[in-house]
C-alpha cells in the first residue's frame, strides 16, 4: 500500500457501501435471495436475471481473490470528475475475474503497480488505497493488487 494510505488523515470510502475498509478488505456486492445471482456495484432492488422477478437484492461479501482478465495504464490525467494528483503519475487499471461470483470487476491498481507488473491470468487480491485527499480526509477506493501469496511479480514493488 502507498504511504499516504497509512498517514494520520481520517479515511472514508469515496463511494458508500461498495467495499470494506478493514485489514482484509473485500468488495460488497449484491446477491439475489431468489435466484442467487450476483451484482456489482451493489444495489437494493431489481435482480438483473431476466428470468427472475425478485425486487430485493441483499448485500454480500465478494471473494477477495481473482485473476486478471485484462489491464490498462493511464499515461495522462483523466478529466474531471476524476481528481488527478499533480503532478500526474501514471497508474494501472485492472479488470479482475472472480471465480465464485462469475463477475469481472474493474478497479485501479495500487500506486506503483504498472502495466509491466501485470499479466492476463495473474492472481490478484483486493486492497484499498487513497483516491484523493481533501480537507485532511483520505477518500479511499478499492484497488486490485498482485496477490501476496503469489510470487509472480515478486510482491508489490
Amino acid at each position: 500500500m502507498s504511504e499516504t494510505a497509512t498517514s494520520n488523515a481520517s479515511q472514508v470510502p469515496a463511494v458508500e457501501g461498495w467495499f470494506t475498509l478493514d485489514q482484509n478488505p473485500h468488495l460488497i456486492g449484491s446477491q439475489c435471495p431468489s435466484c442467487e445471482t450476483y451484482v456489482f456495484p451493489p444495489r437494493e432492488s431489481a435482480c438483473p436475471n431476466p428470468a427472475c422477478d425478485s425486487d430485493e437484492l441483499k448485500p454480500t461479501p465478494f471473494s477477495r481473490f481473482g485473476t486478471v482478465w485484462s489491464y490498462a495504464e493511464n499515461r495522462y490525467a483523466p478529466p474531471l470528475p476524476y481528481r488527478a494528483a499533480e503532478p500526474f503519475e501514471p497508474y494501472a487499471l485492472v479488470a479482475v475475474q472472480l471465480e465464485k461470483e462469475g463477475i469481472i470487476v474493474l478497479g485501479q491498481a495500487p500506486k506503483g503497480i504498472l502495466a509491466t507488473d501485470l499479466k492476463v491470468g495473474m492472481r490478484m487480491q483486493l486492497e484499498t488505497d487513497v483516491l484523493y485527499r481533501e480537507d485532511d480526509v483520505d477518500y479511499m477506493i478499492y484497488v486490485w493488487a498482485p496477490a501476496v501469496q503469489d510470487e509472480v511479480v515478486g510482491g508489490a514493488k
Partner: protein
C-alpha cells in the same frame, strides 16, 4: 430483391474536421447533398429520423425536429433516437420500421455533431452518484481509451498481438482514406509514426485511438414502391437488407463501456453467442447472408486493436486469427475482404450521431462504383458494425 428491402436513394456528408461551427450547419449540408443525390426535394421527405448526440444542449437531443425546422417545417413526422455510437443506425431502423409499417415512403436519416477537444467526459456538472458513467470517471478515471486498452491487452496476452500489428491497422486505414474527400486525416502513416506517438492508455498510443470530430451524414431511404416509381429500374441501386440493433443477453460476460463489472455467470449460463458476435450475426440472419458473401466491411475502429476484434465478431476469421488476416493483406483494398475502405474512424475521427450513417454512406458509394481511387472492384454486398455505450450496437447490411 426482398419486399422488405429499403432503397437508399441518396447519401450525403459534410466533411469531417474540427470546424467549430454549429452542428446544425453540418447537418444541413449533408441533408441537401443527400436530397440532391436522391433527386428529390425536401418537401418530398415525409419522415425525418434524427440521431441524437449527448452534447450541444437541447437541440442535440432533438435532432429530428431541429433539422426539420431548419430545412423548413413541412409537417413531416420526426423522431430523435439516442443509442450512443449506434444512434445513426437506430435512426435508420426507426425510419425503416416506419416505412415498412406503411406510415411513410420517403425518410431522411440524419446525424451531425460538434465535439469538444480532449477526452470525452460526462455531460453536465455536479455529483451524480447514481450515474454509472459519471462514477467510472470519478472513482477510476476509466476514460473510453481505458476500455479500448483492455481489449487490446487481451489480444496481446492471449493471442500474441504486437504493437506493430495494431500500427499496421492504422497504416492500412490511412492508405484507404488518403483521398477520401470527407475524411479529416488524409496522410499516410508508417508503422514508426504510430510507434513513436505517445502512449495514451497502455498498450494504446495516440495514433491507435480515434479522435473526436465534427461531421454530418444523411441518407434518403424509401420504400421499394416509391423507388421503382422514381427511378424506373432498381438495378444496381443499393438496398438496406438488414439492420441489427441488438442488445446483450444476460449474462453479458465481457466488460464493456461504461460498466464497473460484468453480469454474473455464476447462476445463469452465458449465451452461446456473445454480444458483439450477435450484433453481426443478427444482421447476417436477417439478410440471409454470411461473411463469405461480403465484398467489404466498415467497422468501428475506435482503436486499431478493436478493428481486429471486429474481424472475428464478423466471422471473417476465427478468434485469435485477426492479426494473421491483417498481415495477409486480405483486409486491404484489393484483398479478399477490404475493411474500412473509407479510411474508418482512423481517418475520420468520431462524430457520434453521424458515424453509423457515414458507415452506410461508404457502402453505398462503393456499391455504386463511386468511391474513386478507393473503389473496391465488383462490390456487391457490404456490412457495417459498430458498438456504443450501454448495450448499444449496430450492424447494417447493404447490397445491390
Amino acid at each position: 430483391m426482398s419486399d422488405r428491402d429499403l432503397v437508399v436513394l441518396g447519401v450525403g456528408m459534410h466533411p469531417w474536421g474540427k470546424w467549430g461551427r454549429d452542428f446544425t450547419e453540418y447537418g444541413m449540408v449533408a441533408a441537401r447533398a443527400a436530397l440532391k443525390d436522391a433527386g428529390i426535394e425536401w418537401k418530398d421527405v415525409q419522415y425525418v429520423a434524427g440521431a441524437d448526440t449527448i452534447r450541444n444542449g437541447y437541440p442535440g437531443f432533438i435532432a429530428g425536429a431541429t433539422f426539420a425546422q431548419k430545412m423548413g417545417w413541412t409537417g413531416a413526422r420526426v423522431s430523435s433516437s439516442y443509442a450512443a455510437c449506434a444512434s445513426g443506425a437506430m435512426s435508420l431502423q426507426t425510419a425503416r420500421a416506419s416505412i415498412l409499417a406503411g406510415f411513410c415512403d420517403v425518410a431522411m436519416v440524419i446525424g451531425a455533431d460538434t465535439t469538444p477537444k480532449g477526452f470525452f467526459a460526462p455531460v453536465g456538472g455536479g455529483d451524480r452518484k447514481n450515474d454509472p458513467d459519471w462514477l467510472r470517471f470519478h472513482l477510476l478515471g476509466a476514460t473510453n481509451p481505458v476500455y479500448f486498452a483492455l481489449f487490446a491487452r487481451r489480444r496481446m496476452d492471449l493471442y500474441g498481438a504486437t504493437a506493430e500489428d495494431f500500427a499496421q491497422v492504422k497504416v492500412k486505414n490511412s492508405l484507404h482514406g488518403l483521398n477520401n474527400p470527407n475524411a479529416r486525416f488524409r496522410k499516410e502513416s508508417a508503422i514508426e509514426d504510430v510507434l513513436n506517438s505517445p502512449v495514451v492508455s497502455d498498450p494504446l498510443r495516440l495514433l491507435d485511438i480515434c479522435a473526436t470530430s465534427d461531421g454530418a451524414a444523411a441518407m434518403i431511404v424509401t420504400s421499394r414502391a416509391f423507388a421503382e416509381k422514381h427511378l424506373g429500374s432498381l438495378k444496381g441501386v443499393p438496398r438496406i437488407k438488414a439492420v441489427s440493433t441488438s442488445t446483450p443477453t444476460y449474462p453479458q460476460t465481457i466488460l464493456e463501456l461504461p460498466d464497473f463489472a460484468t453480469d454474473s455467470s455464476a447462476v445463469v449460463m452465458p449465451p452461446a453467442r456473445g454480444f458483439k458476435d450477435s450484433i453481426c450475426w443478427d444482421a447476417y440472419e436477417e439478410a440471409g447472408v454470411g461473411p463469405e458473401d461480403l465484398s467489404m466491411a466498415e467497422v468501428y475502429d475506435l482503436s486499431t486493436a478493436l478493428e481486429l476484434d471486429w474481424y472475428e465478431h464478423l466471422g471473417l476469421c476465427a478468434p485469435g486469427e485477426a492479426e494473421g488476416l491483417l498481415r495477409s493483406g486480405a483486409t486491404t483494398i484489393g484483398g479478399r475482404i477490404p475493411v474500412n475502405p473509407s479510411g474508418g474512424l482512423s481517418c475520420f475521427g468520431e462524430a457520434i450521431p453521424a458515424q453509423a450513417i457515414a458507415q452506410v454512406c461508404e457502402l453505398v458509394w462503393q456499391l455504386r462504383g463511386q468511391a474513386g481511387d478507393r473503389q473496391i472492384e465488383n462490390a456487391k454486398l457490404g456490412i457495417t458494425a459498430n458498438q456504443g455505450l450501454f448495450g448499444h450496437g449496430s450492424s447494417v447490411i447493404v447490397g445491390i
